[in-house]
């Protein structure tokens, strides 16, 4: 029995040569080939809203990773008990529970991060990446694979957020993770930390990915 719809033996992705076993494949696909932000274009709201600095982007990404992994695990365990008609409502409830947990956990770890992320921690509930994985993967696959899938997707999401966040922080505040390293003469691009900068940065990354895909397609 094939535990996934995505596995494709003819795939020649970036991690193609490592994807020998099913388990590594489930984990790695979220990082690159099915990256939730750059390839599937899901979960745009937190992606754009909290990526104004690299540290915000990282903490948001890790919080989302926790929620998507835990909810994938629980949903996969319960997949034979949840009636089909009420599955979406049940998934949302499970996700909301884990978000409440991480919300209180972040408050306990660092009040500063909690303040700068604001309502967007609670809004992890409505991140389409998480519900998407629950519906498309965890509800059909065994526990082990679901956990790996959640971890991979979460880390892929974190990676994408970090890409966007670091570009915006370097150009917008002249620093990375809070360390100033730009020369004095560097004029800050204030626009990059404003909402419009988020749209532009994400658009630029998508252009790079599109260019890569087009180039690969023309080679084949």
């Amino acid at each position: 029995m094939n535990p996934t719809d995505h596995s494709n033996s003819s795939d020649q992705g970036f991690f193609g040569k490592f994807a020998g076993t099913q388990a590594t494949n489930e984990f790695l696909k979220g990082l690159w080939r099915d990256n939730p932000v750059f390839v599937q274009v899901l979960g745009m709201c937190p992606t754009l809203a909290v990526s104004n600095s690299a540290i915000n982007a990282l903490s948001m990404g890790l919080a989302t990773t926790f929620v998507v992994t835990m909810s994938n695990m629980l949903i996969s365990l319960l997949r034979n008990f949840i009636p089909k008609q009420v599955r979406i409502a049940s998934y949302v409830l499970i996700i909301a529970t884990f978000v409440t947990i991480i919300d209180y956990a972040i408050q306990a770890i660092s009040i500063d991060i909690h303040k700068s992320l604001g309502a967007f921690i609670a809004l992890i509930v409505v991140n389409c990446v998480i519900l998407g994985r629950a519906e498309a993967f965890a509800s059909k696959n065994p526990v082990g694979y679901s956990i790996l899938d959640g971890l991979g997707m979460g880390l892929g999401f974190t990676f994408a957020l970090f890409c966007i966040g670091s570009v915006r922080e370097i150009l917008g505040s002249g620093s990375l993770l809070g360390f100033n390293f730009m020369p004095e003469a560097f004029e800050k691009w204030v626009i990059m930390v404003l909402p419009a900068g988020g749209f532009f940065t994400l658009a630029m990354w998508l252009l790079i990915f599109n260019g890569y895909k087009l180039k690969k397609a023309s080679h084949e």
Binding site: V41, L42, M44, C45, L48, A49, I88, A89, V92, L93, A96, T97, V99, T100, D103, Y104, A119, A122, L123, V125, V126, N127, C128, L131, I191, L194, P195, A196, G197, G198, F199, F200, L202, A203, L206, L207, N210, G211, L214
Partner: protein
Amino acid sequence: MNNESLWSIFINASLINNFVLATFLGICPFLGVSGKMETATKMGAAVTFVMVISSACAYGIHALLTAIQAPFLELISFIVVIASTVQLVEMFIKKVSPALFNALGIFLPLITTNCAVLAVALFQTSKGYNLPQSLIYSFGGGAGFTLALVLMAGIREQLEFSEVNGLVKGTALVLFVAGILSLSFMGFAGLGG
């Protein structure tokens, strides 16, 4: 308690802090259903309706949960209320206009996961709005969402006729346009006091 006037709340929610273009809420439907003007306006109306209903419910829930001292249940109850309101709207639209139901497609049930709707419920609680203020806030948010969607749909309908490089086509192009729209919305800052 918060003493902002209803008018300034409305202007704030719809223009200055426009949900889509200034606070990045509801980006998924904004990118997904802004292709055609007709669907955009109707999607906007549906979202506004859900927002106002769930805002009223959220006000009641918040009062109740404060009374029984269980604030940790807030998020879970909000999302349940929103999901049921969306279900109601879905059944209503399916009955009244099957054509619109097909046009909105997957994005109709996805209103549940539209962060703008949940954000209205969360923000009005954290700002301490009373019932009329909450209702105006949710209505302003919905109006701003519709405005952004309609603006984007108008631009995208025009873009259909222009030749675009294959590299930029698709989501990247829409994001560039959204960035420019967002820039122009910054001009509203300071309006309404």
